[in-house]
Symmetry: C2
Subunit: 348 residues, 2 copies
């Protein structure tokens, strides 16, 4: 464990100690064939003795491969992004890549541009953007940022390959479930404007109501937080008091649904006796709320895995010099309705 001069040992030090050339050391380190067994052993011993580690920077410089993938995310403390990130990270590690993350503080296009440049600056080989907002995706698609680039939950028409959960289908299933229970219509508390998930879930909700010929009540707009769910839940209670018939609510995520349940409870309304509630996400708590929450499960781990597979495919194609694959690939992961205690038939 004593490199000459106390420096971190380099390949040449190993070579000297093993009595071979630096190239032979390189071959051993990279598992090249055509090295005599005995030589391999001697080099391995020298590596061990010196505590040598290959310098990834020098290697990256000459191979032109940094082995780093970038991830741009908006808020990694939210359930979905956190899960997706985790799935990406795991898949990347299995493929031998490092993952460098940038989370955006705000959703301004400027922030996205900065994040993109930041990753370009780091010479990432490719990038996944967990960009659930239309403006972000558009900013990224138009930018000379990191390439190849795969968007998670990106909308259509951006020209970027996209992996997403089938939000529309999930929303439709939830709404259909409520209609099937006998509700005349279903109210909706949607997510913040310009979020693709908000739009897709709202659109699924609307389409399903229209298909069933049910009236489409004015939706309320939240910001994903339990507090906004609570505030809007109270608004629904007021509407009820004003004579509007509100018997079922489809809430765009589980956190807001928690707030809604609370508001309804405070108003003395029973769930599902007076009002049925359905959420979206299937957070681990959903099953154990009181009542347990009917919601839509999204397989974020799968989304992470698929987006990485897509990205690696692009990187491989680029390196192989083959024609760039079409930009409008879209992989859709199905959503699954989980029926629990918060949904039931409307009051008579």
């Amino acid at each position: 464990m004593s490199p000459p001069g106390g420096r971190t040992p380099v390949m040449a030090d190993v070579a000297r100690l093993a009595g071979v050339s630096h190239q032979t050391v390189s071959r051993v380190v990279n598992g090249h064939p055509n090295v005599r067994e005995e030589t391999v052993l001697r080099v391995r011993r020298a590596i061990e003795e010196l505590g040598y580690h290959r310098n990834s920077t020098a290697r990256a410089l000459v191979t032109r491969r940094t082995n780093v993938l970038g991830v741009i995310a908006f808020d990694t403390t939210l359930f979905g992004p956190a899960r997706t990130l985790s799935g990406i990270e795991r898949a990347a590690r299995e493929a031998g890549y490092f993952v460098s993350i940038v989370s955006l503080d705000d959703v301004s296009p400027g922030g996205v541009v900065a994040a993109a440049e930041y990753l370009v600056e780091q010479s990432v080989e490719g990038c996944v953007a967990i960009a659930p907002q239309r403006s972000l995706v558009e900013a990224l698609a138009g930018l000379p940022g990191p390439r190849p680039l795969v968007a998670v939950e990106g909308g259509e028409g951006s020209g970027l390959p996209v992996v997403c959960v089938d939000q529309v289908q999930g929303a439709r299933e939830a709404v259909r479930h409520l209609l099937d229970l006998g509700h005349a219509t279903v109210h909706h508390i949607e997510g913040p404007p310009s979020w693709l998930e908000s739009e897709a879930r709202a659109s699924g909700w609307r389409r399903e109501l229209e298909r069933a010929g049910a009236p489409v009540p004015e939706p309320l707009q939240g910001d994903w937080s339990p507090r906004s769910g609570y505030d809007l839940g109270r608004r629904l209670v007021q509407r009820r008091a004003a004579g509007e018939r509100v018997t079922a609510v489809f809430v765009a995520n589980d956190q807001m649904a928690v707030g809604v349940l609370r508001a309804l409870h405070e108003a003395g309304l029973d769930v599902p006796g007076d009002v049925s509630v359905a959420g979206f996400d299937d957070v681990p708590e959903a099953e154990f709320l009181t009542p347990s929450l009917t919601t839509v499960f999204q397989d974020f781990a799968q989304v992470g895995k698929e987006s990485l597979a897509l990205l690696l495919g692009r990187i491989g194609a680029e390196r192989g010099g083959s024609a760039p694959p079409p930009g409008d690939v879209r992989r859709v992961v199905p959503a699954r309705l989980r029926i629990r205690g918060s949904s039931g038939p409307p009051p008579p």
Copy 2:
């Protein structure tokens, strides 16, 4: 935007176009003084025209600084780690560092060793380990892994600098609050064994009971999940049915507390009328559960920030050649009790 030959442009290309030497380009890119204003402008124009980006790999090779920090985390989808990671990432970016993350799939020492080697391989300049388990911290402390290394939530005596929330104090405040309300004692549902947070919170609970001269009931052991909270909540209900007086429960995290609330509700018990419940973490939902959850707030963002400050200090000291700072630094972030609706006086 046309580097000769279609290659990615390099410094020499910019130099040629601007009619200066590559060194002058380097000076401009690095904001060196002593370059004529007019030259700067010309170089800038050439950079713009070619779409030049400095190659971080080559730069890292010669400066011996990769500008990358590593983060080892266990489960980044849990509330605490996700928040902490986010805080670290933000602070790192502000300091001009990239963040590379590795999440561990399992808690085996082998996994930690692999993660540590993985980061060494990537030549990180330093590393933060969100290692809430004793075994992980010990494995890391004893390993020739990435250095400098700062542990988040690491226990004492590992020899590593540590940043942590004052779990013991938080637990004591929660328990004292319940005792002050008049409860004869407080039951405890703890986290999984070997987690430092479990141990610290259980120890705070025990100490506070002992200080008050209250009996110390046998704690129940969960795994942080809402399901385990639910299962153990039912066990508490059984104990009550068997005649044991259970009027207050301190649950080691909010997710399990959700399960406990559910189990109590199912048994027809009122919270806080029959049983008071307190959690730990203050997740965003806590305030909007029914009843709203008394819990302990942890400033994870602050933990992230402080751990990064500590790490940067180490890196700076190392580079400056000054004496290595003591290994047993311990920065403690206070926890804060949030009293809400789930705690009240015991039934008569």
